[in-house]
């Protein structure tokens, strides 16, 4: 596609440390120095391929990641404290060999934003999270159909009380406004008819159930089509509507590109690709990540760094893997930074972008960095040995450590950085470097 032509290095846009770091920071929560050097020594499209095929990470992945993650997740789902489930997800994001999948799982959590505050059922929340992950890069229809059978989502949007003759329009409205078409692409009459098509979806004995007695099998007219539609037929009508592809394209662009970088033509082209590829999400993500647009100067360090990236990227850059920080502590920090997993602010999810940066969250970010340096993210506290890290990468002399960290933590940004000296009581030069880099304003862009 013309607007999305593949990035090839040119003298004007060479393959540099900055561009490699950009790929990692935008798509997979940052990287270690070794991962960056490996990608830098090859071709950019090979680096993108590694991101897409879950080979981007080489450091810090536990041998038994899958079984460990399952063990932690299953244990978290059967105890009463949601904090443990949050900690499980953070564990996954920090250690998974498939970070792009986690990035997209997080995106879908924000799309089908469901809160345990109302669902109040950790096995349901865990199941939903697993389902989002399973279909993260699949054709969108698979995910949408799965969500219409998802106990957490159905509970969240009152589907069980939507019965024949007793409509509850909650799911109906959000299905069209937030999950597929977007506002302005349906009428209030559609909302009523869609609610009827959705009758009978319920949750019983901890599982999805279709209750035929409660289902309204009569004719409905939805988006100018008429028939005795049920939920799955309705979903197909919504999936085929061009507004859905357009909206998904916008969603993916917002996830990976900065404001204003993608013009209307490119947006339309991506939507068109989605329409002709059965709304294949993985393919659309590939189109974006391989593109010249994605690697263009305008797209680098020009998006607000989201809380999860701010949480994870420093841990990977500093290689805090052997004896990792407490994931429960990390979850608390993440909440202070404005991202309380399994508890979005409302059905529209986290608005993201500039709204991530507020007084409270900026203070939380600064304090989080201080907690990494002082070792307070560990329980018990345990300050990381950054001199050892510097030595490992032969970066003990002069500005070598700072140069390395500036690439990993800030994607190489360096203008106007920390003009005043840091007034810190910490006497490690490396620690002060990290503190200075991550409390300046460039740390909030990626």
């Amino acid at each position: 596609m013309s607007a999305w032509q593949i990035y090839r290095p040119t003298p004007q846009q060479p393959w540099t440390q900055e561009r490699a770091a950009h790929l990692h920071r935008r798509s997979v929560f940052g990287s270690t120095w070794n991962e960056l050097q490996r990608d830098l020594s090859g071709k950019p499209q090979e680096a993108v391929s590694r991101v897409l095929s879950d080979e981007a990470r080489i450091d810090g992945i536990p041998d038994e990641f899958a079984s460990l993650a399952n063990l932690i997740g299953n244990a978290a789902a059967v105890q009463p404290n949601v904090e443990r489930l949050k900690a499980w997800w953070i564990y996954r994001i920090l250690f998974t060999p498939a970070p792009l999948q986690e990035r997209l799982t997080l995106m879908w959590h924000n799309h089908f934003a469901t809160s345990n505050l109302k669902v109040n059922n950790l096995p349901f929340m865990k199941l939903q999270n697993d389902t989002l992950r399973e279909h993260a890069t699949a054709p969108f229809g698979e995910l949408l159909h799965a969500m219409l059978h998802d106990p957490a989502l159905l509970t969240w949007l009152d589907a069980p009380s939507n019965r024949r003759g007793h409509a509850n329009e909650n799911l109906s409205r959000e299905l069209m406004e937030l999950f597929t078409l977007g506002i302005g692409n349906y009428t209030e009459a559609d909302v009523k008819h869609v609610a009827r098509a959705l009758t009978g979806l319920t949750v019983k004995e901890g599982r999805f159930q279709f209750n035929a007695h409660r289902h309204d099998a009569g004719e409905k007219t939805i988006l100018h089509k008429t028939g005795p539609f049920d939920a799955d037929q309705l979903a197909d009508i919504l999936l085929q509507n061009p507004a859905t592809a357009q909206r998904l394209a916008g969603k993916l662009i917002a996830e990976f590109c900065s404001e204003g970088v993608v013009n209307e033509t490119a947006h339309n082209e991506l939507a068109s690709q989605l329409r002709t590829s059965n709304l294949d999400i993985g393919k659309a993500v590939e189109t974006i990540l391989r593109s010249e647009l994605f690697f263009s100067d305008a797209n680098i360090n020009s998006r607000i760094c989201d809380p999860m990236s701010f949480l994870i990227a420093p841990l990977r850059a500093l290689e805090l893997f052997d004896k990792p920080p407490s994931t429960l502590a990390l979850s608390e920090w993440l909440q202070r930074m404005g991202l309380d997993l399994f508890n979005p602010p409302n059905v529209a999810g986290w608005p993201g972008n500039r709204s991530w940066l507020t007084t409270r969250t900026v203070i939380a970010r600064a304090n989080y960095v201080a907690a990494i340096i002082s070792g307070d993210v560990y329980r018990p506290a345990n300050a990381p040995d950054l001199q050892k890290l510097a030595k490992k990468h032969s970066a003990s002399k002069n500005d070598a450590f700072e140069t390395m960290m500036r690439i990993l933590l800030l994607g190489g940004a360096n203008e106007n950085q920390a003009q005043e000296p840091i007034k810190s009581t910490i006497d490690s030069r490396e620690a002060n470097t990290v503190l200075a880099l991550l409390t300046g304003f460039h740390a909030h862009l990626h």
Binding site: L117, S161, G182, N343, N353, V362, A366, A418, A436
Partner: protein, 395 residues
């Protein structure tokens, strides 16, 4: 057909529901526009407050009949008039009453009362009677939904506490945040302020100014915790008082958020309640008074009103363990300089009980209606799911 421009307009409307810091708006314009807005602080007395021993009908001989071990001595009761008085631990609120800063509304409840903490709290939070309508959204959340302005970056409601955000302040689009403690608003280390905004790039300038402003705000906040201005208000050493003091600091430092919510747990007094109830009421009463004094000193009393409620009252007759079991109606308090002070409703009859409980004389939604329409100036119909005649709590 959806063109990009329209799409962007729509998605920005969708995505602009605010999520932000309690005490500093992102733009001066945003905070200026809201600086004079009125504020409602809700105190939730968790567990079911024993209303009969809070606002006491001391002149009614039935009171002594039902309350043996738990009877409050008439001499100690703080008299409001010749038939009603406050628990002796509520001296501070007695002073507020004398000072025309307190409205007392006895007998508040709703039809077919439910004695489950969970169900009854859901009724009070949602202002909806039917469990099917307890969808996790509440009257204040729905009220804020009607006030959503694109580009607004201030939280609509702030809950101070470490439990989940109460449904009362959750809406479809409303942004409510929880703050646990003051440390969340202070910097752990002395960070250098980044350079002043110099970038011509809009996003970079935004980040620069936000970071700079945030660090400055943290310093101001830290200074305000050392500054004795609010200490002069004489906050007692209670958890509720600390939460209210934090609210006062947030209101003082900026503006924008109109709804604050706190809870005071412990009112589920099934046994040996005499001392625990006394302690709770003393904490409630003294904390509330200190908060109002503090606001007055800060010149903010015109803008703030406080409402305190509990999910139900307790049974009229004490139980065999010198405690009380779950009942139905109970008193609601509204406090502040602009309140329609006095006793605003009829005390339920102790003769004519309903299944051993006080019959309610006021529907709680009529108090909500007044707070919404007369104080916050928000149409109450949608938040309350119908029209209710306001019981005028605003003077």
């Amino acid at each position: 057909m959806l063109n990009r421009r329209r799409f962007l307009n729509q998605s920005s409307l969708l995505s602009l529901s605010p999520l932000i810091p309690a005490f500093l708006s992102q733009t001066a314009a945003a905070s200026e526009a809201r600086q004079d807005d009125r504020i409602l602080v809700v105190i939730q007395l968790d567990g079911g407050n024993d209303g009969l021993n809070t606002v006491i009908p001391f002149a009614d001989e039935n009171y002594g009949k039902y309350r043996d071990k738990l009877r409050i001595d008439k001499k100690e009761i703080i008299k409001l008039n010749d038939s009603l008085g406050l628990h002796p631990a509520m001296k501070s609120m007695g002073q507020l009453f004398d000072d025309n800063q307190l409205a007392i509304i006895p007998g508040v409840g709703y039809p077919n009362p439910n004695r489950s903490h969970f169900r009854s709290m859901a009724v009070w939070h949602s202002a909806r009677m039917h469990p099917a309508d307890h969808t996790g959204q509440g009257w204040l959340g729905r009220a804020c939904d009607q006030q959503q302005k694109p580009g607004n970056a201030t939280p609509d409601a702030v809950f101070i506490g470490d439990s989940p955000i109460p449904a009362a302040i959750i809406g479809r689009r409303t942004n409510s945040i929880a703050l646990n403690n003051e440390a969340e608003l202070m910097l752990a280390s002395k960070f250098a302020a980044p350079a002043k905004a110099t970038s011509s790039d809009d996003l970079q300038a935004f980040v620069q100014s936000t970071v700079t402003a945030s660090y400055a705000a943290a310093k101001r906040f830290a200074a305000s915790t050392k500054n004795s201005a609010s200490d002069k208000a004489g906050y007692p050493n209670y958890r509720l008082a600390r939460k209210l003091r934090l609210i006062s600091r947030i209101i003082r430092l900026d503006g924008g958020t109109r709804i604050f919510y706190v809870s005071q747990p412990g009112y589920d007094t099934h046994s040996m309640q005499k001392h625990s109830h006394q302690r709770l009421l003393r904490e409630f009463s003294r904390s509330l008074k200190a908060f109002l004094v503090d606001l007055q000193q800060a010149g903010l009393s015109d803008r703030v009103m406080v409402m305190a409620f509990s999910e139900f009252g307790r049974r009229v007759r004490e139980n065999a363990s010198a405690g009380t079991d779950h009942g139905t109606s109970g008193p609601v308090f509204v406090a502040g300089k602009s309140v329609n002070a006095g006793v605003l409703s009829k005390y339920p009859s102790l003769e004519n009980l309903e299944d051993g409980d006080l019959k309610s004389t006021v529907d709680f939604r009529s108090i909500y209606a007044s707070l919404l329409t007369n104080w916050l100036e928000i149409d109450a119909t949608l938040p309350l799911g119908g029209k209710f005649k306001p019981l005028k709590v605003v003077s």
